[in-house]
Assembly symmetry: C2
Homo-oligomer: 330 residues x 2
């Protein structure tokens, strides 16, 4: 009986394959047909076709994605800065000294411009004051609670609804083809992990980001990790290949970004042997999202545009290549 | 036709299940029956049984394994030290100054005892001289070439054959039950990655270990990562929970070790909510392997034995619980 069933199963599975049960509909419905969509599909097909000279075994199908501006909206400000601002307001009663201390004084008055005048030093101070001093478990809860209700200042939609529908489809499409998808972001690793699995289908262990140091200790006999106000690693620019090597330990075969902060990740990815795919999302749609590139202050895409042209990387026009930008749009 | 086939498939798959095609033989054949094997199986069954109060969803089934002494033999010395010694011999012609410089002078004379007298400082110096200064790609090749032929000084077997057969079965068993298995070792992350996938079925991105810093640069226009002679992270003792948080971002539900260097990992794992499993491999088999615990110099199991007794962790006797130790044994 058993071997009869097994035999029948084999025959039927073969039949099922040839009769097209498994044939999928267009896996990228929010992408307009054209050379950029075609470039993605061609790459995925050639590295997954057994016998193709470009075939890549499943365990080497590593794809890395920047987050801010590549998977979700980073304008008018990166989402994590809104989180930090809200944390300042929440913590202010415990910090009366902030009334006279920058960047906190300006932030509490809602004057982001003066607060930002302190530059990188002010931002680091802001992050340390709002992201450190609690256990990793507590920080996870704080982040989860915040992201559940925090909204984009212009659209009044949840930040987690400000993700790019075409990129969600791309993540799903690549995973369906055996790719392991990773986020490699300049944003905080601990800020992204609590919501990225639900939002992108990317689990915590596949997220690479900037970090502060943590320390193991026993609190009332209970082992915890305490977040310290000390930078551990900045996962941006030349830091991205370093973070990739440390966390993944293999060179990706595909990488996706949207700014010069992703350039080294794309260079590192593109330089490996065998088939490689590098893609920039170009923010050129001022109507449906935001338009910015060479002169943007926080997320400049300048050297990257030149190198993409020189190396034949795919540069996606949000305006022309995407049928829709956000999931809630028709 | 299609829907008929699909219907038939469903029916046959159900039949196949009930008729026992999928029923496995004993998944842990090298383990003697007894309370320790039973503890492992009971834990895996309760966290994987839908509807059980201890059920754990697949994405949270994280299991972490120490490497040296837990997955493979670490006596008479940890394998990575033999690698470092061989590197010293290989590099000696380029370093005439080593003839008069410790720990190199003693190492080159084969006098490990005098070399080790320099303590931790000497070991760090040894590792930096032998593990840094090349690209990550070059180091991967060096490690792969070495491990392909390097043999255990006593058994004359390849080091990769000095892995514990019962632990290989345990890794396979846990993965078959939806666990993601990670190595969390004090050893070098870059030393383990080139061979751990083939040896243990654990891919590079699921290996956590000690690391030195790397730097991104363009060499003749080609993007590479250069290994710097500077410690980045020591993944041992209180560093293990830190490394777990940084790389995995979730508290494991099961952890496996063999020394006090694993104690904080087991504490951190055991203290989470829900079902938890902590296990120590106890080296008490001087005939088939080595016997060492409370007084060992490099891999002491002392505080860990007391805490295991106090907390009811599973302590596996290599002598009594394992039918065989190494794969090549009958």
């Amino acid at each position: 009986m058993k071997s009869f069933i097994r035999h029948l199963l084999v025959v039927l599975l073969a039949l099922a394959g040839s009769s097209g049960i498994a044939r999928a509909a267009d896996p990228l419905p929010s992408w307009n047909d054209g050379p950029h969509k075609q470039a993605i599909v061609s790459f995925v097909e050639k590295v997954t076709t057994q016998g193709s000279p470009d075939f890549v075994p499943v365990d080497q199908r590593i794809a890395t994605f920047d987050n801010d501006g590549t998977l979700w909206c980073e304008k008018p400000l990166p989402v994590q800065l809104y989180f930090a601002l809200d944390r300042v307001k929440t913590l202010a009663p415990e910090h009366p000294e902030w009334k006279d201390q920058e960047p906190f004084a300006s932030l509490l008055k809602g004057d982001l411009k003066t607060a930002a005048a302190g530059g990188e030093h002010a931002i680091v101070e802001l992050l340390m004051a709002t992201h450190a001093g609690m256990t990793t478990d507590d920080f996870e809860k704080i982040t989860k609670d915040w992201i559940a209700t925090a909204k984009h200042p212009k659209t009044d939609r949840l930040f987690t609804e400000m993700v790019y529908q075409p990129m969600l489809e791309l993540l799903t499409y690549m995973r369906a083809n055996g790719f392991k998808t990773f986020i490699v972001s300049g944003g905080g690793i601990a800020f992204m992990r609590p919501w990225a699995e639900k939002t992108y289908g990317i689990p915590p262990e596949q997220i690479v980001g900037s970090s502060i140091k943590t320390k193991f200790e026993l609190q009332d006999g209970k082992p915890v990790l305490v977040r310290l106000p000390e930078v551990d690693f900045i996962d941006d620019k030349a830091g991205k290949p370093v973070g990739i090597n440390e966390h993944i330990g293999r060179r990706p075969i595909a990488a996706f970004g949207n700014s010069d902060g992703d350039l080294e990740m794309l260079q590192y990815t593109g330089a490996g042997s065998g088939a490689r795919f590098c893609l920039y999302v170009h923010h050129d749609d001022a109507v449906r999202e935001y338009a910015y590139d060479r002169k943007d202050r926080l997320a400049k895409l300048d050297k990257g545009l030149d190198e993409a042209a020189a190396k034949g990387w795919t540069v996606v026009s949000m305006k022309d290549d995407w049928k829709r930008v956000f999931p809630s749009e028709p």
